[in-house]
């Protein structure tokens, strides 16, 4: 089963300009399909998060967008220029930070940025100013005279970022921009990216979930080269609220609490989450549209258990991600943390689609 996002034809939406268009892009290496019929669009000034496990096809997609790799099928356009038919114009409007910053170890930071400015066609008179501005923006000015080969991981990443935004591109494509940075640098980089949006359209890939909810306005979740979902982080969370659960921790409970809890109307499933020193925790799966908190509390009291904890478990982006990306394996039963039956992922979620980003989930049976 897979969930596919479909965007209707919307060349212009609310006056916003579509800057990046990806239409039915497929990339095959021999018999291996790295990217399978991928379609999405990005508006001017938007930050789009590209989320997926390692090997999902994020880097391949970015490489297609930047013109580094040609797609086997489909089209990608940057600011209206096809990356395959009109590569030079498309590349002029794209800034790209690959996973490993492409630095020349034998050049100093300033020399390197001057070189990048030169091959991007920035006039000789403007180069110094542009390089200065880019270094300022990424806080690498102090390192201007250092050789790229001697920089720390954090600085390499920042010089890579300076390189990507040097020519003021319409679109910035950043492949895991925060990978390998320390927590402070991560926060700085995220702030920088947020600042950059508006002037630039940003597409960033990551497998770190909080990054997406903190920086991105829209998320494309991909797995095995396919789009699993496209939405805002909040809407994605909301969309899956149907499969809400409760966490209950009690002590005592000589009788089997699982059976008692299962008897409550509206409880879809109960699983023992943890048990130690006579304290047991349970995950209680709630059927959509029910609120069973009162009934659960009553059951605790009538059975004479000691109530230690009862809280609603909101599905984090992490859960959604895991759910969306592992489902395809047939949802292996994993006793510890049950995340709703697979069908619930694409249960009709009326009212949650926010009109702008309409999600159409369609079920498919694979294999």
């Amino acid at each position: 089963m897979r969930v596919r996002a479909r965007n209707g034809v919307r060349a212009v939406r609310g006056g916003e300009r579509i800057v990046v268009e990806v239409q039915h892009v497929t990339k095959r290496y021999g018999s291996f399909t790295a990217v399978d019929d991928l379609s999405f669009e990005v508006e001017a000034g938007e930050i789009l998060g590209f989320l997926g496990p390692n090997g999902a096809g994020k880097t391949t997609t970015m490489r297609i967008l930047t013109g580094y790799l040609p797609a086997t099928e489909g089209h990608a356009r940057i600011a209206g220029f096809d990356v395959f038919d009109d590569p030079i114009e498309a590349k002029r409007r794209t800034g790209y930070l690959p996973e490993t910053p492409p630095l020349y170890p034998e050049m100093t930071v300033a020399e390197y940025l001057h070189f990048v400015a030169r091959i991007n066609g920035i006039a000789a008179g403007d180069r110094t100013a542009r390089v200065g501005a880019a270094m300022e923006r990424t806080s690498v000015t102090d390192m201007a005279g250092r050789y790229c080969g001697t920089l720390s991981k954090g600085y390499r990443q920042r010089v890579g970022l300076a390189q990507a935004l040097l020519h003021e591109p319409d679109v910035l494509i950043l492949d895991e921009p925060t990978a390998g940075l320390d927590p402070r640098q991560i926060i700085e980089t995220r702030r920088l990216i947020t600042e950059l949006a508006g002037d630039h359209t940003v597409i960033l890939s990551t497998h770190i979930l909080p990054e997406v909810s903190q920086t991105c306005q829209r998320v494309v979740i991909i797995n095995r080269g396919r789009v699993v979902a496209v939405d805002s982080p909040d809407a994605l969370t909301a969309r899956l609220q149907g499969s809400q659960s409760l966490y209950l921790q009690v002590d005592g409970g000589g009788d089997d609490p699982v059976a008692a809890l299962r008897g409550i109307a509206g409880v879809a499933g109960v699983a023992a989450a943890d048990r130690r020193d006579g304290v047991s925790g349970f995950e209680i799966e709630i059927a959509p549209g029910h609120d069973v908190r009162r009934e659960v509390a009553r059951a605790v009291v009538t059975n004479g258990w000691g109530l230690l904890e009862l809280r609603a478990r909101q599905m984090s982006l992490e859960d959604i991600f895991l759910q969306l990306t592992t489902e395809e394996d047939g949802g292996e039963p994993d006793g510890a943390v049950p995340v709703g039956p697979p069908e619930e992922a694409d249960a009709p979620d009326g009212g949650e689609a926010d009109g702008a980003d309409r999600i159409e989930a369609e079920e498919r049976t694979d294999g």
């Binding site: 490489r63 580094y68 114009e89 590349k91 794209t94 492409p102 091959i119 991007n120």
Partner: protein, 254 residues
């Protein structure tokens, strides 16, 4: 054009920050100097009549400069693979190829940038030899025609070597592999006419024609034959074309 220049300047710079440029320049100067001294000795012995012919006026072009150019060609066969082995291989290994390929540059600009960058360092190597040749002009009276045509020949032949090196370097991430393979291919082009024979059957004549050093001989004699110029120029074009093909292939295969 500006892009080609920017890339060529970057290449040349990279040669000089790594030890490659210095190693090449030093050893080329040393080897050339060695051959130079050796041929000066032969010259001196000849002109003093040590071969039983009595003192005589020896043609400096014929007995000194021509063999010297021939020897230089052989030194280049050994040294030029080192000039080109890193060009694409290193960029691919370190990931900077991704920068070039996602910048608004055409493949042709990248290839020509690398070609002219390497050619510029090669010209510097040749420039070192002007000192020795200058001394010959200072003390002797060689004809400048064959000297000029010899340099033209060296330039064209070096260009051909470089284009082979670029084509091979673009197929691998490993500099050593690129260097060794380039040397092997060049050597093959040198000895290819050992089985060939210009006056033999068609296939032998073709093999003879392909020999890369064979075409150099006339240049060192002072003859600029369009046949040889065409050979080297087409050799360069084919080499660069193969480089472009290999880049394209790489792109599709990822």
């Amino acid at each position: 054009m500006a892009n080609i220049l920017a890339l060529a300047a970057k290449e040349l710079r990279a040669y000089f920050v790594s030890p490659i440029a210095y190693v090449l320049l030093v050893f080329f100067a040393l080897l050339f100097g060695w051959f130079y001294v050796a041929s000066v000795n032969v010259m001196v012995q000849l002109s003093m009549g040590q071969f039983g012919m009595g003192p005589q006026v020896v043609n400096i072009n014929e007995f000194m400069i021509r063999p010297l150019f021939g020897n230089t060609a052989v030194i280049l066969l050994f040294l030029l693979p080192m000039l080109t082995m890193r060009s694409f291989a290193e960029e691919k290994r370190s990931g900077t190829m991704e920068l070039l390929l996602t910048s608004p540059l055409t493949d042709l600009q990248i290839i020509l940038g690398k070609f002219f960058g390497a050619l510029a360092l090669y010209c510097l190597m040749l420039a070192l030899t002007l000192l020795h040749v200058g001394l010959l002009f200072w003390y002797g009276e060689p004809e400048w025609g064959p000297v000029a045509s010899g340099y033209l020949g060296l330039l064209l032949m070096g260009g051909a070597f470089i284009s082979v090196g670029l084509a091979i370097s673009s197929t691998t991430k490993n500099q050593i592999v690129a260097g060794v393979a380039t040397f092997a291919v060049l050597l093959l082009f040198w000895i290819i006419n050992w089985i060939g024979d210009a006056s033999g059957t068609t296939s032998q004549a073709v093999l003879a024609y392909l020999s890369i050093l064979e075409h150099f001989d006339d240049f060192s004699k002072g003859v600029i034959d369009t046949k040889h110029v065409t050979y080297y120029l087409s050799f360069i074009v084919v080499g660069l074309f193969l480089t472009a093909k290999s880049m394209d292939q790489e792109r599709w295969n990822g």
